[in-house]
Chain length 254, copies 4
């Protein structure tokens, strides 16, 4: 810490370092010029390793049953936290807000999706929604996926439907009179969503907007869980200057 | 005809010249360096105008109620015919075959689709089908379309399903356990087909094949009915050397 | 105007009504439920027809040599104007600003591109630019186009380059050591732009962003000059509540 | 071999089993229901392990300096071979043909690319070439790639150019008069090729054909070297019934 070359370097600890996502986070922090990986903690390790190593920010990719204890500990010890673990209910979020109330200057970012591309896709889709008569979503995934459509597609459809309603748009035009069941996709709040499944695909989504004589397409292709790493690093950089609880990546993408 | 520059020029007459497709055919023939538009016949005009003008090939884009009379007349007068009119049943085709039996050297081409791109798309899809574990079809059209999926998509799905069966392929892999109704599209002989409808679109189709680590996509975009003209001209050029009845454009695309 | 059903209807006049774009505007205004086409003026007609008909907003798609006289007249007579005519220099814009200075409440919108899809594509591209290591532009047009890349692609590249510079991003990664000249496209301020030309295409542009494990693509397809009409109608609706000079469609897409 | 369940099972040995491709081949053979991995040979191991284990087909992914010795050995011992190793000159191929001349019934398949999707893409592109006025190639790869365009794109362009020449097609239409250098891509025998490089991409290629009012696009996306495995297994299955030397995967895709 006295080394001048470390001026401005963020000291990062990783919780759940042995998991698939945690291991990727360790690699990503290690490769970032402005960060230093100072502690990797997994099941059975003591949380005190984080403070011993002088961690300023902790990244948590653990499990719903331990994440609240981890967060409580971080807040108590004045360590900022970036959390990708799932299972946060409104009740849990309120609890975190309560802990943070007594700690001015301390920040926690909890996000269900650290893919910057996916987050921007949803933002752009929401923004474009009011200007186009038509919109449909086509999501494409590997055939081992259990749900159809994907959670991201469902969320995107809800955002678009809300934006259309706010802008006073009516239903999308559709003269279909003779349909083989399913051809026109699932209807989510009036937005048609098509789920394609094929070996070789990973995770892809296309939002197609159309109006007279033109279409606008926003497409996101994700090939690997490393695609979440730029978003995690972005949150690590931002959390120290965002006191309180920040939900989702959106507010960090000014 | 005595002009040497006309050596090799095909003299073409158009039946239904006043209709939307007929008018496009007239323009296309007019613009083709190796053809000459010698007669345009519409409702109320005499068919004899075709022979008077020395038409060698007649293109018919009329209606199901007059096309058989037109064809009979062409065969009787030794004029080759290229037909885009719809409504041909097996019975009608047999009748045409009967007429042609007594006219060696005379050719008739009847095609439901003169789009070379669409025909090649279906050929390629049929050929690729046996090599890929997964396949799905996404067709996209303007929202005034009444049927979903489109006739071309339905036909493509049938061709693919037949090719898979012949190659001994089992069902495509699909672990979907939790589906919003319609999300996974229409099931046509085991091939999932998704129909997208949006203002601004014209007529598009994508066939997506997938196997371990790779996908192959064949996509056709049609923007205008003029897209059928290269196929019509191809048929006009080919019909004189194809005696008898030729069904669909496929055999002309060696 | 006393008819209660017309409450809220915007009375629109069109200048250059006989031109290709003007004719489309007339059709579009005619088809809009909240507008009434009250005057169509072309070469040789008197501008007073506009005021005689009670036009509240004038749309001008004329030529650079008459547009300044038209605008002067509109401002003098208290008629709002939406202008798609080209040829506006900084000097001309200053002149318009001067005229408007004395007319509080009067609005003029001058836009080089009324395609909402194209404008949103550029906005989204500018916004995404800072979050992705890589970016390239692929524009696709019909082969009769004289310039490569297109004006829109060039403009998009400049916007992206500026956004990258502002965010402190370095050059995009590129290890190319062995290049057939031209393969890597044109270099516009460090952004590679590829211009595809093919019969059958109309006007298309794709901006591809990439970072570790994911890509985000924003694509705009324009099939027809009618694609500009939703943008023209948007401007007609907005101009009455935007006093002064508004440049480009962007500010109207809050 | 006496086990009835093994009837029809192909006994496969892998040369270069420790390399990246070799290791994938071992996994793929192991996972194939109709094959048995009986020997894995790497640097320092004796080739006799292959015959000792009763290998019927050997897959060779080694290096140019040892592959000829390996092949000679296989031919001498009556073992079929499937070879993905590079560096085969016409001279080397003639040598292999000479060895095989004295061994009726023995087969060798040597292929530069085992990606079925890539091979089909090239076949389809070659076949479509004669029917479209315009054609361009857009290949997209990760930014660590040294050559632009890719070898596959260059090969595809050559095949298309040859097919166009054979069909008597002239140059593609292109009115470009004002070009920023490189915008129109590399010119390979008259076919324009564009090479896109971006982080997040793997290996992709699109061939775009256009004619009046329509386009046909053939696109191949490869995400992983496992994408070559279906092609390797296809060759293993086919080589025993294809005596002599087979070059490339094409003839196996009847």
């Amino acid at each position: 810490m006295t080394d001048e070359r470390e001026q401005g370097t963020i000291r990062v600890g990783v919780l759940g370092a042995g998991g698939r996502m945690g291991a990727e986070v360790c690699k990503a922090v290690d490769g970032a010029a402005d960060m230093k990986l100072v502690a990797t903690v997994d099941q059975g390790d003591a949380l005190s390793e984080l403070t011993d190593a002088g961690a300023q920010v902790v990244v948590d990719f653990t499990t719903p049953d331990v994440v609240m204890d981890n967060l409580r500990w971080c807040v108590d010890h004045g360590v900022h936290a970036v959390v990708g673990t799932t299972g946060f209910t409104e009740q849990r979020l309120d609890q975190v807000r309560g802990w943070l109330a007594g700690k001015p200057g301390l920040g926690v970012v909890i996000a269900p999706n650290f893919g910057i591309g996916a987050v921007l896709m949803m933002q752009f889709a929401t923004r474009a929604a009011r200007y186009f008569e038509s919109v449909e979503i086509i999501e494409q995934h590997h055939p081992r996926k259990l749900d159809a459509p994907s959670g991201t597609a469902t969320h995107t459809a809800r955002l678009i439907a809300a934006a259309r309603a706010e802008a006073g748009l009516g239903p999308v035009p559709d003269a279909t009179a003779d349909e083989v069941p399913g051809a026109r996709g699932a209807d989510l709040d009036g937005v048609r969503v098509h789920a394609v499944r094929a070996t070789g695909l990973v995770a892809h989504q296309e939002v197609l907007f159309g109006t007279t004589g033109e279409t606008l397409t926003i497409r996101h292709d994700s090939y690997d869980r490393v695609s979440f790493m730029p978003g995690v690093l972005l949150a690590v950089r931002a959390v120290r200057s965002r006191p309180g609880l920040t939900l989702a990546l959106d507010p960090l993408l000014d």
